[in-house]
């Protein structure tokens, strides 16, 4: 039985400043799948993820979601000067499973912020995870934890779209490859 489609792009063209970055891109992402978005700098990888989030409208084509979207971009989404526990309570509904004490978000490590971001996506029950350079600034253990989170998410019927210059580590065995070119 074919897994259900969670995300569908049909003839999507994205432009920035009038210059097309992505032209007539079409693909479907199904439950359990991982899409790996590759391309040189400036090819529109981050723009593509932001368009899937709905922050940028395509100049042509359609993007259809059949599940909610969770996004981990270059920014964590947590306000730096805020107390970490306050942000955790707002976004996750409770304290994460690591010690944040009386720290501000800016005092957390990059790994801790990304773990909170992943827990936010899980808490929101996002079906489609969009991850932009998720391995950046993470040590090996944090990278392994991230891989486990993504695998667990896909095993439960979710899907992930990942931009990564570092490859997908253990996730790329059956990944759908989306290759973007510089225009």
């Amino acid at each position: 039985m074919t897994a259900r489609t969670l995300l569908s792009l049909q003839g999507v063209t994205l432009a920035r400043g009038g210059i097309p970055l992505v032209e007539k891109l079409s693909f479907e992402l199904r439950a359990g799948e991982i899409a790996w978005v590759q391309g040189p700098n400036g090819s529109g990888k981050s723009t593509l993820l932001r368009a899937v989030c709905g922050f940028i409208a395509p100049t042509e084509g359609h993007i259809k979601h059949f599940a909610s979207v969770g996004y981990l971009g270059h920014k964590s989404g947590f306000v730096p000067f805020a107390r970490a526990i306050g942000e955790a309570l707002f976004w996750i509904g409770g304290s994460p499973d690591f010690t944040i004490d009386r720290k501000r978000v800016s005092q957390l490590s990059e790994g801790q912020r990304k773990r909170m971001a992943l827990e936010r996506m899980s808490h929101d029950d996002a079906g489609i995870w969009l991850l932009d350079e998720p391995y950046a600034a993470l040590d090996d253990e944090a990278c392994r934890n991230l891989d486990l989170s993504v695998q667990h998410h896909c095993a439960r019927g979710g899907a992930a779209m990942i931009v990564s210059h570092q490859g997908l580590r253990d996730l790329d065995r059956d990944a759908l490859l989306i290759q973007l070119e510089t225009r």
Binding site: G70, H74, F78, V79, F81, A82, F90
Partner: protein
């Protein structure tokens, strides 16, 4: 909406500096104007409503006009949108929270200044009511300015210059409402001020949403 307002109040508390900066500017402006007017009790008592209104307007805008920069730079705005909040909800919540965390404390400071400048009882009441009624307008314009300037990283003076044409009528009607005689709520300037505040809240929420949408692309 309540969730967003509580979040904004929490963040304002966590940051703390915006209100302290606004309070410091407020005190400086009141002090300098009092010194410039010669310090006469009679003169200060008569001029106090105008001094308070001018000082409160400038200090509130300094605190408010960089409001969305952090949300934009941290990616929090994106996450709020993904959670299903519309931009106008986010803007409206920010207007309400800003009124609670900046305008109301500055109104309290204004009443302390009125007390120090020996403003009479009835006039003090009118001043308090005019500040509360006009506060939403100042909050709205400050938030709108912050939304437009969100990606420039520069609030402060640029935000005040941008917002100045909008706040002048607020200050004019606010100060005029203090000098009225007769029943408080039937005062024409106060009713005009209420109308300005209501319109400002609606228009600023919608316009802020549009500005945040453009800045977020």
């Amino acid at each position: 909406m309540i969730e967003l307002i509580k979040r904004d109040i929490r963040l304002a508390w966590d940051q703390g500096t915006a209100l302290w900066v606004a309070a410091a500017v407020f005190v400086m402006i009141c002090s300098l104007l009092a010194i410039g007017l010669g310090g006469s009790a009679v003169v200060l008592s008569a001029a106090a409503p105008a001094i308070v209104w001018a000082a409160l307007s400038v200090s509130a805008l300094i605190a408010l006009t960089s409001g969305f920069t952090t949300d934009m730079e941290s990616g929090a705005l994106d996450q709020l949108r993904l959670r299903g909040h519309t931009l106008w909800e986010i803007a409206l919540a920010r207007i309400v929270a800003s009124f609670c965390t900046v305008l109301l404390p500055l109104t309290l400071a204004g009443m302390i200044v009125a007390e120090i400048f020996a403003v009479e009882g009835n006039e003090k009441l009118r001043l308090a009511v005019s500040l509360v009624v006009g506060g939403p307008a100042l909050s709205s314009y400050g938030v709108l300015s912050g939304a437009i300037l969100a990606t420039s990283g520069r609030g402060g003076l640029l935000g005040i210059l941008f917002t100045l044409p909008f706040i002048i009528p607020v200050v004019i009607f606010g100060e005029a409402a203090v000098g009225e005689t007769g029943a408080l709520m039937s005062s024409s300037p106060l009713q005009a001020l209420l109308g300005i505040s209501l319109v400002a809240v609606v228009i600023s929420a919608v316009a802020s949403a549009a500005a945040l949408g453009v800045n977020g692309e």
